[in-house]
Amino acid sequence: MSERTVTDWDRYALVVRVAGILAEGHAFGRKALQKVFYLLQELAGIPLGYRYRFYTYGVYSFELASTLATVENLKGVVANYDPAFGAYELGRGEKAEALEAKGHAFLAEFGEQIDRIVALARGKTGKILELISTIVFVALNEDLGGVADEQRLLERVAELKPKFSTTQILDQVQELRLRGCLPSE
């Protein structure tokens, strides 16, 4: 992992980049952004420095919520309430380009990791992103006798996310393994 110091400008640029891409053609909300940033930090190893806690609605960082609010205020992203979606949808703001430029070196340095997580998250709903981040959270934080112990992983995720069927959980576990995000055995 890089020892690089990540600045606030870098974090703002990353918010703009990620929200800009993932909001294209899909409803992408604030909570969904939380899950993607969790994957960027914990799975891709980008040293963003956010503290995540786990709630019934999945992983959440209050510090990231503050960063996002700042980026909205700086017009790097816009958040429009969509009554049909029932939540705020993020999109690129009028200052998106300028903010991205401020974190240009950072975005370039971690480009590969960003692309990998964006590819994983692209087109997925907030609900599925919550499931994926929960799988990763459990795999990284709990002693399951090795994350390759699939049965225990599935049971634990099913316990925490009772709304999802075993098939849905298994599908996401398999995709994570295929993408090399979880050990395959």
Partner: protein, 426 residues
């Protein structure tokens, strides 16, 4: 079961009588909890608001009281969700109420001296992440208080173990019911914040933190977040205006008290003095391990103040004693633009030779942009919750506070102001 549990009452300046039972009394009387009488809630806020001398002890009792109110309301108003989604049966209610009360009572037992100010001096864990005060609360519960809980007949009758309580305030996922009740201790709208706003406001002698707790506490319920499908603690639409008041209170308390210009620089002086005091101890507080947790518990405000009085806190310790704080020479607006932030950063570089210190509101634990979900009226058709900011122009208008300030030693104030004028910064 069936045995009567003895209850006691204690007077609280915010809530009136706070009731507690024998189990809770045993915990309150434990030295690890009594230590909270020697941990101030708001550090050196009394340098600006002299009344703000209250401690984590009374806040912890208050948080337990508020958590109880929230628990009872949610059990009533969200019964369906609790039963269908979390298989929470009626019979489990007494047990979980006790667990939630203990979690609220103990959530702050791991604070460093003067609360948040020492957190940057906590050591790193095995993964290289800094320990949090919640990790210390969990360790104190595990190593010091488990016996008090598990040897108590009431806890035994309810089948409560110390680990049940720990799971409610730990960061990592735990049991499903613990996750549900965690929202009361650490969430967007929790008992902790609901208590400290009123309490801090009361002791500071300001009206900014006051809101209608009775209404909020009687209208909370679980709402399904449309974004992720998860449940979070929200409010029924009959509590909409009361919760608007809560958010405005947070906003006002932040701008007027927590991030007050003079108050916040004392956080810096205190942190520097603590750093100096910890130098002979390896520069960090002891870790929350079995071997070291008692050494951590020996650290409280009294020890720090005693050492500072003995001139062991260095120059910043002296500044605390003499109220000789750094002076603010430059600040941005509350919601600075990109240009303002850049200008501030340039000023910071320019004044670096004068030992300038930057304080930024965004780094505070306060989160101004939290939204609250509102459940539409039960009699209405659509049962989907809505974001409060989509219903309330007042809440939608609350901008994130990102003010930044630069401070220099008192002796450098005139030179700094002159340099800022010359550089076109003021």
């Amino acid at each position: 079961m069936g045995e009567s549990v003895k209850h006691f009452e204690i007077r609280d300046p915010v809530h009136g009588f706070v009731r507690y039972n024998e189990l809770e009394r045993d915990i309150i009387n434990h030295p690890a909890f009594q230590r909270l009488r020697r941990i101030r809630q708001l550090a050196f806020t009394d340098m600006v608001y002299p009344g703000a001398m209250h401690t984590r002890f009374e806040h912890s009792l208050g948080a337990m009281h508020v958590a109880t109110r929230l628990f009872r309301t949610v059990c009533e108003r969200s019964r369906e969700i609790l039963e269908s989604e979390y298989q929470f049966e009626e019979a489990a209610k007494i047990r979980w109420l006790q667990i939630v009360r203990l979690a609220a009572l103990l959530h702050d037992v791991g604070h460093t001296p003067f609360s948040h100010n020492g957190e940057d001096l906590l050591p790193l864990d095995q993964k290289g992440k800094q320990y949090t005060h919640e990790a210390y609360s969990a360790a104190i519960l595990r190593h010091e208080l488990a016996g008090t809980i598990e040897n108590n007949r009431h806890a035994e009758n309810l089948g409560i173990r110390a680990s049940d309580v720990e799971r409610v305030f730990e960061d990592a996922p735990s049991t499903k019911p613990a996750l549900v009740w965690k929202a009361f201790i650490s969430g967007q709208m929790d008992a902790d914040r609901m208590d400290y706003l009123l309490r801090d406001s009361h002791h500071a002698g300001v009206a900014y933190g006051k809101y209608d707790l009775d209404r909020v506490a009687s209208t909370v319920e679980f709402c399904e977040d449309p974004d992720t499908g998860g449940h979070e603690l929200g409010i029924g639409d009959d509590g909409t205006h009361a919760v608007e008041g809560l958010l405005i209170a947070r906003y006002m308390m932040f701008t007027q008290v927590y991030f007050h210009k003079t108050r916040s620089i004392f956080d810096y002086h205190l942190a520097q003095a603590l750093k100096k005091l910890l130098e002979p101890h390896g520069g960090r507080f002891p870790p929350p391990t079995t071997e070291d947790i008692r050494r951590f518990l020996e650290w409280d405000d009294w020890r720090v103040l005693g050492a500072v009085a003995q001139e062991e806190g260095g120059e910043h310790g002296r500044m605390l004693v003499d109220r000789d704080h750094y002076r603010c020479v430059c600040e941005t607006s509350e919601t600075p633009s990109e240009v303002e932030i850049e200008k501030f950063e340039s000023a910071k570089v320019m004044l670096s030779t004068m030992n300038a210190v930057a304080m930024t509101a965004a780094k505070s634990w306060y989160q101004p942009k939290d939204d609250i979900l509102v459940m539409p009226s039960r009699s209405g058709g659509d049962k989907r919750p809505l974001a409060l900011s989509s219903l309330s122009g007042v809440v939608a208008g609350l901008k994130p506070i990102n003010r930044m300030r630069l401070y220099v030693p008192r002796q450098s104030r005139d030179a700094a102001n002159a340099a800022l004028r010359e550089g076109g910064f003021s």
